[in-house]
């Protein structure tokens, strides 16, 4: 597949993920729903796994995490979103690490049990480890500093809250496996690029224009 097509793929999938984190995430939080686990299970895991099914290359999730994390971090009017930005980037890295052991052909995952298991392990792994990384890095880069006792104190809560992400991942995975038959490289460039740029531009436009409203300006 062309390198340019992959980079644009990273941009569009990363933008969709960032859009979900910046627009849908706060709505879930306002509704008092467990936004972190839902965002990880549905959007983070869903979009990263979908991109692997579509493009069949390693490294895309890491790039998507950087794009989505940047959207969250540099959300111009949304205030400091440090924790979310770090968590998103960490999730991209963790997905790559976990799926580095998953063969590209995915033929070994023909059984429903294996697909569900892969979804559970990946979604729980990226949620829990992403949460831990955030709890370590956020205090380090803020004025308060990192305290190991705080991390130990909230570890049971992190492990518990990941359960929902694991269940969502387990439900999502078999559905996402249907996407592996889609061949992105067969989409004509005249269609692929305008659609990809259009979706990315829409996501960034909505996030930027929505930010003053979300910040209460």
């Amino acid at each position: 597949m062309e390198k340019k097509k992959l980079i644009v793929g990273i941009l569009v999938f990363g933008s969709l993920w960032g859009f979900a984190e910046c627009v849908i995430g706060p709505l879930l939080r306002n509704a008092n729903l467990p936004a972190g686990a839902i965002m990880t299970g549905v959007f983070a895991f869903g979009l990263m796994a979908a991109s692997r099914m579509f493009y069949k290359v390693r490294g895309m999730a890491l790039g998507m995490g950087l794009v989505a994390g940047a959207m969250r971090l540099f959300n111009p009017f949304g205030g400091c979103q440090l924790c979310s930005g770090i968590a998103i980037m960490a999730e991209g890295l963790l997905f790559e690490l976990i799926w580095s052991r998953v063969p590209m052909a995915l033929d070994e995952f023909s059984s429903l049990t294996n697909k569900i298991s892969l979804g559970i392990v990946t979604s729980y792994g990226i949620y829990v480890l992403g949460y831990v990384i955030t709890q370590v890095l956020t205090p380090m880069v803020s004025a308060a500093g990192f305290y190991f006792g705080n991390l130990v104190g909230i570890l049971p809560q992190i492990l518990a809250s990941g359960l929902l992400a694991a269940v969502i991942g387990g439900v999502m995975a078999p559905v996402l496996f249907f996407l592996r038959d889609v061949d992105i490289s067969r989409i004509r460039n005249q269609v692929y690029y305008p659609v990809a740029f259009g979706i990315s531009a829409f996501c960034w436009y909505v996030v930027v224009s929505n930010s003053p409203w979300m910040a209460g300006i």
């Binding site: 400091c80 440090l82 070994e108 705080n150 104190g153 049971p156 809560q157 359960l163």
Partner: protein
């Protein structure tokens, strides 16, 4: 994946860890509506008699540094403070952070100089660390 047969077992372990942790967290949940500060219990309603409310952006509450001073913690600037929520979520902050922070009537901490991770809900304890 080399050990694909182990994947379902790993998934079961993951689910068991999640369920076990959920049971543990719920059993440890503190339903108290009072706040323990430096080993003494207070109700939020008492705070209004102790210090004046102040606002930080959209939030109003009681200045944490003034509460600590009122309670009589000696040399408050030499201590750190661990704020603990009813679910066990906790964060340790410095005296400088306390000087900028407030606790709302809804028992939530607000620190304008710190990330949102420091907004601790349903606070049940503020520990004065040595």
């Amino acid at each position: 994946m080399r050990n694909i047969r182990a994947l379902p077992i790993l998934a079961i372990i993951v689910l068991m860890v999640g369920v076990g942790s959920s049971i543990y967290v719920n059993s440890q949940k503190n339903s108290s509506t009072s706040i323990t500060i430096n080993n003494e219990e207070y109700c939020v309603s008492q705070f209004s008699e102790m210090v004046e409310e102040k606002s930080i952006e959209a939030d109003a509450g009681f200045p944490l540094d003034q509460l600590i001073n009122k309670i009589g913690v000696a040399s408050p600037e030499t201590h750190e403070y661990t704020i603990i929520g009813s679910d066990g979520y906790q964060k340790t902050v410095t005296w400088e952070n306390m000087q900028a922070g407030i606790i709302t009537k809804g028992r939530e901490s607000v620190f304008p100089d710190l990330p949102k991770a420091y907004r601790i809900k349903e606070i049940v304890e503020i520990k004065v660390e040595e």
